[in-house]
């Protein structure tokens, strides 16, 4: 029987968020939604700020917040190298409030692109709590 799972690694420069066998991964790339299944062709692309969906072999699914980065597929393995990433279930009110406060304090020194991407990350996380 052909193997229908692949190894998914999601890491940010600080730590590995996820490293396990999964059935599928859906995320938003620069050109729209992209889905990865087992034995995906060699691919490398930019990932947009998005809520990625991961499906485990038993059909259970969960979500990961990805703050942009790169995704690379090949050799039945998909690696998401995110600028920052967090399991959606780990997003909490308190840490989000602190992050929002830090963003507002630093708003003046951030350039437009950075301020916009940070705002999108905050809104995405905020939508998970509301």
């Amino acid at each position: 029987m052909a193997q229908d799972t692949f190894n998914l690694v999601v890491a940010n420069p600080e730590l590995v968020i996820l490293d396990e066998e999964v059935e599928s991964l859906t995320l938003r790339s620069a050109f729209g939604d992209a889905a990865f299944l087992a034995h995906h062709a060699p691919f490398v692309g930019e990932v947009d700020i998005c809520l990625a969906t991961v499906v485990r072999p038993q059909g259970e699914s969960f979500q990961i917040v990805i703050d942009g980065g790169l995704v690379r597929a090949g050799g039945n393995r998909v690696v998401v190298l995110a600028n920052d990433a967090q399991l959606a279930s780990d997003v909490e009110q308190e840490s989000l409030r602190r992050r929002r406060q830090r963003y507002e304090e630093r708003l003046e020194e951030l350039d437009d692109a950075l301020a916009e991407s940070e705002l999108r990350s905050l809104e995405l996380r905020g939508s998970l709590i509301d």
Binding site: N12, S29, P42, V44, G45, E46, V79, L81
Partner: protein, 300 residues
């Protein structure tokens, strides 16, 4: 009065003992922080390894492309000096300062300084040297945010052709017993080291890239630089805790030795005092006995 000297020594022993308690506590705190810091280095390794691997494969796939982060036309060098905020960590900071002075002597191109930590801030301030950016409160517990906010503006200036080299002078952590001061060139990214594994069979990838190979290479190199810099900060943090633990262990050992010597001196003084007292008593008793003897002789 013989008791005075003994009392003074007892006071010194008490003072050294309380200093010893503090240094011992600092040693234990540093030891527990090393464990955490080493754990963070391990956590960050996966991203760095994967990103280096990906960059290598991308550069091998498109050897004709020369990204901005690998070019070296601009003359200006940015020196990032990583020190601690607090002292009591042996030669940790002075090694960075020595290496900086050496670099200044060696380089004939313009230098811009980025100081990390209060120690280098004090040093530069004292000598009236201006730093472009100064950031404190980093090596205690470095965050990814700090690495991004420091590196982003520098990389923009590299892109704009204003900066040609970025060198970090910091303490590297190899193991609990081995930390070493090193100068790491972050930019230009050394592609010869990255592409060295080109004979490796997995290196011959035929990628489909989105939006384009060039864009992905630029992004990957940028992220690689940030990840490497963050890794250096994490190592500097672990090395600081290790240096502090070692310094505090030496201080505790010295205090123990000092207490032993002082106790010995105090015992000698006390013994002298006792001997003097006994001599006086015996002398006094003898004098009394002689006096009584003389008196009884007179009566007879």
């Amino acid at each position: 009065m013989p008791g005075g000297k003994e009392r003074a020594l007892r006071g010194r022993i008490r003072s050294v003992n309380s200093t010893k308690k503090i240094t011992k506590a600092m040693e234990l705190i540093a030891a527990s922080r090393i464990v955490k810091a080493v754990g963070r280095i391990g956590g960050a390794r996966t991203y760095f390894r994967e990103m280096s691997e990906l960059t290598r494969e991308l550069l091998v796939t498109l050897p004709s492309y020369r990204p901005a982060l690998t070019r070296t036309e601009a003359a200006t060098t940015v020196l990032i000096l990583v020190t601690s905020d607090r002292g009591l960590c042996g030669g940790y900071n002075s090694a960075v300062i020595r290496a900086y002075e050496e670099q200044v002597r060696r380089l004939d191109s313009p230098i811009e300084l980025v100081g990390i930590g209060r120690r280098i801030e004090n040093y530069l301030h004292f000598r009236g040297i201006e730093s472009k950016v100064q950031l404190n409160g980093v090596t205690h517990l470095p965050t990814l945010d700090q690495a991004y906010s420091l590196m982003r503006p520098i990389m923009e200036r590299v892109d704009a052709g204003e900066v040609g080299r970025v060198v970090v002078i910091s303490n590297r952590f190899y193991s609990l017993g081995l930390q070493r001061l090193e100068e790491t060139t972050l930019i230009p990214v050394d592609t010869s080291a990255v592409v060295d594994g080109a004979d490796d069979p997995v290196a011959h990838f035929d990628f489909e890239a989105e939006p384009s190979l060039e864009t992905v290479i630029d992004t990957a190199l940028g992220q690689l630089v940030v990840a490497e810099f963050f890794g250096l900060l994490l190592e500097a943090s672990a090395a600081e805790h290790a240096a502090r633990q070692r310094a505090m262990k030496n201080a505790t050992d010295n205090a123990t030795e000092l207490v032993r010597n002082l106790t010995r001196a105090m015992n000698r003084v006390r013994q002298d005092a006792i001997t003097t007292e006994i001599t006086e008593i015996v002398g006094g008793a003898e004098a009394l006995a002689q006096g009584e003897h003389a008196m009884s002789g007179d009566e007879r």
